[in-house]
Amino acid sequence: MLYSPAPLHIPDGFLSLVISIICWVITALTLSIAISRTNKSLGEKQVPLMGIMAAFIFAAQMINFPVAGGTSGHLLGGALAAIVLGPWAGMLVMTAVIAVQALLIQDGGLLVMGANILNMGLITAAIGYGLYRGVLGGSRGTKLAVAGVAAWLSVMAGALATALQLWLSGTSSLQTVVLAMLGVHAFIGIGEVLITVAALGFILRTRPDLLGEGSASAGGGRGWVVAGVLISLIVVLLSPFASASPDGLERVAENLGFLDTAQPAPYEIIPDYTVPFLGETALSTILAGVIGLIVVGIIVVLLGQRMKAKS
C-alpha cells in the first residue's frame, strides 16, 4: 500500500469525551467562519476546484521519497493548501481530506475528528498562510524560505496540539508525549519543508499567475499575519516550557479542572516506584535543545544551498 498514515491522526478512544467535544466546538466555529467567508468571496466555480484540490492533497500525500533505511518522507499538505488556495479555502479542503481519511480508511477516528481537523487542517493552514502572507510582496527566494519555515512550524504546531490533547485526556504523561511528538515531527517536518518548497517553486516558475496579484493565494487579509505569527510564537514558547517544566502546565490544567477527570484518585501513592520516563528535567531540557538546534541548523544549511543553487 502506497498510503502511509501520519502519526498525527488520532483514533477514537484516545481522547476523553470532554476534550473531543471542546475540539469539535473550536473546529465547528472556525469552519462556520470559513464557510461564510468562502461563500462570500468565491463563485460557484470554486466549489469543484476545492473538491479537486482536496483530492490533490489526498493523492499528493502518496508521493514519497526514500530517506534512509526503508523510511520515506511525504507531504501532509496543510501549509501548501493554504498558501495556494488562500486560508479559508485551504481549511475547508483539509477538513474534507481528514474527513474522508477517517470515513473511508479509518485513518483517524470519528468522535475525535474535530481534534484531528483542528490539528492538521486549521492550525497548519493558519500558520502556513499567516507567515507566507507576511512576505507576499517579497522576492522568490524570500517567499520560498518563509514557506519552508511555515511548513515546518505548521507540522510542529499540529504535533504540539496533539500532544496537549492526549495529555489533557489522561492518555499520556505530559513531558513524554510532548518530547516524543515534537522529536518525531521535527524530522517529519523536514520532509514537509522540502516538498512544500519544491512544489511551490515549481508552481511559481510554471504558473506564477496562480500565486500572483488577484489570485486566491493573495486574497487573505493582513490579520492572517498576526494569527500566523501568534500561533508560531505560542508553539516556540510553549514547547520548551511543556517539556522542561511540565509542573507549571499541569497546575494550570488542574486549576481549569481537567486533570482530576483524567487521573484516578491516587489513594496509594508510592512515589519511589513511579519513575517517569525521562524524568530528570535537566536531561530532557538538554535533549529538547539539541533536537531544536540540529533542526534549525539543518534548515539553515539547506536553505543556504538552495539559494546558492538559484543564483
Binding site: 473538491g51 475547508l92 477538513t95 491516587p266
Partner: protein
Amino acid sequence: MHSDAFDRYHHGHSPIHSLDPRVKVLVTLAFIISNALLPDGAWIAFALAWIFILVANIFSQLGIGFTFRRSFIALPFALAAITVLFSIPGQPVSSFHFLMWNFTITDAGLLRFVSIVIRSWLSVQMAILLVATTEFPKIVHALNHLRVPTIITVIISFLYRYLFVLVDEVLRLLRARQARSAAAAGKRVGGNVMWRARIAGHMAGQLFLRSYERSDRIYNAMLSRGYKGELMTIHPHHFHASDRWIGAASIFGFIIMQIAGRL
C-alpha cells in the same frame, strides 16, 4: 495495484446493508460516544459492546470475524498511551530496568492503558463496519441530511469522485520516475536525499497543475450538463419502520452498556 483499492465497500444485500444510512451513521457515532463515556475497567460493558459488534457482523453477512481482522489499524497509536503504564500512581505490578532508568508498571496504570486500547479497538471496528456496508456516496448523503454544511459534503463528494482519477495520475508519475531511475548493479542511483526530495516536490507541483487544469475542464463539462451549484441524487432516502426500530434498539443497548459499566 488498482487505485480503487481505497474503497472499502463490500457489496451485499444483508439487513445491515439495507438499513437507512442516516441510522447507520447515527448508531456508529452513538456507539463511539458510548465507548468514550465508559469508565476504565468496565469489563462487562466492554464485553457487551464487543457482542454488539459481533451481532452486527453476523447480520451484515460479512462473517463474524470481519471487523476483527481489520481492526488493528489503530494499534500503532497505542504507543502514545504507553506512558500511563508508569505515570499513574498505584500498586507496582512488575518493574524492569532499561538503560539507566527503572520502569515500574502500576496496577492503576495497566488498568488505564488496557481500557484506552480496548475503547479504541471497539470504536474502530464499528467505523469499519459502517464503511463496509454503506456505499460512500450514501454516507455523504446521510451527512447532508444530518446538517453537515452543504459546501463540505459537496467538497467531499468531489474528493471521492476524483480521488481515484488523481491517484491514477500519481501512479503514472511514480511509474515514470521509476522508469527513468535505472541503475547498473551495485551502483548508487540518483542524487542525495535533498535531490530526491526536490524531485518529489516537483512531482507534487506537477500534480497540482494537472489537478488545477482538470478542475477547469470538469467545471466546463458540468456547466454544459446543466450544473446550477448543487448536486442532485435520484436515490432519496426513505425511513422505514425497521430503521426506527433498529436505531432505537441500538440506543437502548448502549444505555444498558452504560449501566453495566457503572454497576
